[in-house]
Amino acid sequence: MLTRRRGVPSRISSWLALAILVGGCAVAGSSQQASPRSPGFALVQQMSFAPLELAIPRVGREVERRVLSNGLVLYLATDRSLPVFKAYALFRAGSLYEEPSKPGVAQFTASQLRSGGTDVMSFAALDEELEVLGISIEAGVSSETISVSMSALAKDADRALELFADILRRPAFDATPLETYRGRVTEDLRRVAENPSRLMMQEFSRVMYTEAHPSGRPLTSAQARAIRREDLLAHFRRFLRPDNMFLAVVGDFSVDELAAKVQGRLGDWSAGSPLDLPTLPAVAPRFERGVYLVPRDLTQSNIVLGHFGIRRSNPDRYAIQIMDMILGGGGFSSRIMERVRSEEGLAYSVSSSFPTTTRDIGLFRVTVQTKNENVPRAVRTILDEMTRMRDSPVTPAELAGAKDAIINSFVFRFTSRFSIVTQLLTLDFDEYPPNYLDTLLDRYRAVTREDVQRVARQYLRPDDTTVLVVGGTAQIEPALAAFGPVSRLPVPAAE
């Protein structure tokens, strides 16, 4: 069957097909280090594909951007594919915006926006009406943002937007759901240690960021118990304001209809005093070769190793992303996965992640789960792969594979109108230039093998890597010393 291919090559005209051709040239242009291939691979390389039309979405085309007189930045789009109405709001109000003396207040505020009722409706009545109408409104929190999303049927759009606006403008922060939530948080904290991968991530952040940064200070039960309703109100009043808000609205309506709906519910929301955003705490990167062991009596260890990375303003971010795909972030097409899982059978889960889109400096991390006796071997293999990435250039096939993957899967970023709008809104919120998506693929295309090796040398630091193991056993502790001085961390107790 492999010989039955379509014989006539299709005309290559779209930019997408062109991109593949460019990738192909890069492979052909280099004679060294030809990767071994199967007989089938060569046949697949000869297949030709009809061009694929893909218009990169832009503000002013699929999506309209307006700014209301109160400062609210509004993204609007019509979506006729389903009779739905959706909204997504972002505020600069995440945990980094908390008063240092009030840790947890952003998380509590987000939760109680949705759960605490409004000035015109009790929390129980609100829950019930939303569920009867099948409207979903949910709030979330991250280090930078509080987000609130909504989805409803188009025929309920007006009522849904009214409830959404009440939640954003007139939250009641009722004491009853606040106490329920507090109890859920404290119980959840008691259970951190029984989820080894969660414990690993929490303790790694603590070790890396230290007390000096909020990311190094996970919420404690005592802190959760100290949060008052007034703290939520203060956080709400300071940050949940129209001039600190980006809102996307998408639905089975014309753009003008959507705009009129939003104007009616949020247009008269006054910002009042000038917006006062605090200076956010800055990450101070620090490199330390060392091993931390959180002892847990389990058959398998959870391991994370890594060091500080970059922020999104770094122009090397495109080369770093490709480097990370080849190293361990590209699933089964990455070196670490190939060796640790496929070749040596040491783990089911293993991957690296080098964040390149965070405002401040993020953490490069490799995580792996393996039975206790294999921990030293897995860590050694991963560090060796980091070193190899620095010592020699990637193969032309590896580079071409990573670029092809990015370019050919680009279409999946735009499969629904809602995902298009929220992406454009988020890029604007994060202060990317307006033509960012138009030039993005060219940035990846421009990355060379030399670039990849250069960023590996500059940003991968196998000799300054911190290793943290949850699990382990006393038997492997001596072997871990090969990766740096070993310290034991206490297992958080259930309070």
Binding site: L82, E131, L153, R184, R296, V411
Partner: protein
């Protein structure tokens, strides 16, 4: 036979007019053209045209799940699913011809090793350490030779370079599924790669992958309180139906599975006439059928062993089990329920939504919000081919005990048996069911897997939509009858996870009161 059999319309008449809050708008919006086609070899295709983005999602399902496994070979279905990514006679190797005899010799050495290490012990003899060492050395040498031919993860690499996303597979009790989403111009590539691995896969790196799956088991079960509790509870809830053994397999079985077993299992179950394919996206059905016939049409059909018939006997009395693990307590209640498609499955689904779906559901409102006994609670049915369970899962909030939580759940169940559910609550549950379905069907991949699963389990993909009508028709009285019939202590398994090392067996019985301050085991 080239003709397209039918252009059908998925018309989801989702709600009756009396309860028309969500109703007709949704009914109008799943009118997508569907083409159904069976190839001469019995391989069935379903093509759904949805042209919102120039992409498509593909779903292939083989009607073989862990329920088909025989004792001693549990986990084989899932391990086979992993092996399907290891290449074929065309992919995954630089020289499949020279590789072949090496793989056979590796199998033979593994068999000798197993005979020496385990079967000898079973026969009462003592393994010879020198012979074990010799065999292991020889094996290591052969594996090193075989490695030289291997090109790892090539299927993944080809799909990825061609823009593929969501490449994955899953194994369940009743089926094995393979997924991928691709740009629409890659249809033929998909057909080539998938038909090739149905034709002659090569299970290279079998014994390494067996190690990988053992790590998967450690991750999902051995180190997870919830995984431990679920495996033990399901193992106790089923007696006759082989759902009692885990999809991942028992550890002792897993470490002894071998490649010839996987080859035989593949040969038996991965026939074109045992496969369903669902494609959803920007596709031309006539083109799909042409490509399907070209690539899959000459796969030889095989006699499929008749589906085994399993029937779970009625339960006579409550079963209680207790799992000890270094973790805070958890509760799992499993009530015997009918299999998928049974008339009672619809009121039970409504019952699940009433009890556990959303913040205003009964168990959430009462146990999380009002009484603050738990931090989370879930309820709902789990319908499989041969049997089902109605599951309630709760995480207590200290200092409340498992006994308190269980008693509070009982109170809510008792209410359902006595007081009829109000029309407004019935309306809420109907609407929630509809909206959740719509959410799942919004993506091509979601629609493909839902259609495929409905098709495989009921024999008719339309059941995905007709089920909505049956759910809508459920009355408050049906719900009360179902609660009375199924949610009884004598028909359930109650499983408790309690703090302990799991190494010593202490007294039986659930609901040991747990103090708020339990020290963590330091090591």
């Amino acid at each position: 036979m080239k003709r397209i059999l039918a252009f059908l319309t998925i018309s989801a008449v989702l709600l009756l007019a009396t309860y028309a809050v969500a109703s007709t708008v949704l009914a109008d919006n799943f009118r997508l053209p569907v083409t159904e086609r069976t190839l001469k070899n019995g391989m069935r295709f379903l093509i759904v045209e949805r042209r919102e983005s120039p992409t498509f999602a593909a779903y292939i399902r083989f009607k073989v799940g862990s329920v088909n496994e025989v004792p001693g070979q549990t986990g084989l279905t899932h391990l086979l699913e992993h092996m399907m990514f290891k290449g074929t006679n065309h992919f995954g190797s630089t020289d499949p011809v020279r590789e072949q005899p090496l793989l056979a010799r590796i199998d033979a050495l593994h068999a000798l090793l197993q005979a020496e290490k385990r079967q000898k012990r079973l026969a009462g003899a003592v393994p010879d350490p020198d012979r074990v060492a010799t065999l292991e050395k020889e094996l290591a040498g052969l594996e090193e030779q075989a490695k030289r031919f291997i090109i790892r993860n090539e299927l993944w690499e080809i799909y990825r370079r061609n823009g593929g996303t969501n490449l994955n597979a899953s194994t369940s009790h009743d089926g094995t599924q393979y997924f991928i989403s691709l740009p629409k111009n890659r249809l033929e590539l998909w057909a080539l790669l998938e038909s090739d691995r149905m034709r002659d896969p090569v299970f290279r790196e079998f014994y390494t992958e067996r190690d990988v799956v053992q790590e998967e088991r450690r991750q999902r079960v051995d180190t997870s309180p919830r995984g431990q509790l679920m495996e033990a509870a399901v193992g106790a809830a089923f007696t006759a139906v082989p759902y009692r053994h885990p999809v991942l397999g028992w550890p002792g079985d897993l470490e002894n599975l071998n490649r010839p077993q996987a080859q035989a299992y593949f040969k038996t179950h991965y026939a074109p006439n045992n496969a369903l394919v669902v494609l959803v996206g920007d596709l031309d059905p006539a083109e799909v059928i042409r490509v399907a016939e070209r690539y899959f049409g000459d796969l030889p059909p095989q006699p499929i062993p008749p589906a085994p018939i399993f029937e779970e006997p009625p339960q006579r009395g409550e079963r209680r089990i207790r799992v000890e693990f270094p973790a805070e307590p958890q509760l799992l209640m499993l009530y015997q329920a009918p299999p998928v498609g049974h008339p009672d499955s619809y009121p039970l689904a409504v019952l699940g939504a009433l009890l556990g779906d959303g913040r205003s559901s009964r168990l959430y409102k009462r146990l999380v919000d009002e009484r603050r006994l738990v931090t989370s609670i879930a309820a709902g049915p789990w319908f499989l081919q041969y049997a089902g369970l109605f599951v309630i899962q709760a995480t207590p909030r200290a200092p409340h005990t498992l006994d308190e939580v269980e008693a509070a759940v009982e109170e809510e169940i008792a209410l359902l048996k006595t007081e009829p559910v109000s029309p407004r609550e019935m309306l809420k549950v109907r609407n929630q069911t509809v909206f959740e379905t719509v959410e799942h069907l919004a993506s091509n991949a979601g629609l493909a897997s839902r259609l495929g699963s409905a098709w495989a389990l009921t024999g008719d993909w339309r059941s995905l939509f007709s089920d909505q009508d049956k759910l809508t028709a459920v009355t408050a009285e049906d719900v009360r009858e179902a609660a009375k019939r199924y949610l009884n202590p004598g028909h359930r398994t109650v499983a408790s996870l309690v703090r302990g090392t799991g190494t010593t067996v202490r007294g039986a019985g659930a609901g040991r009161p747990l103090g708020a301050r339990q020290p963590w085991d330091p090591n």
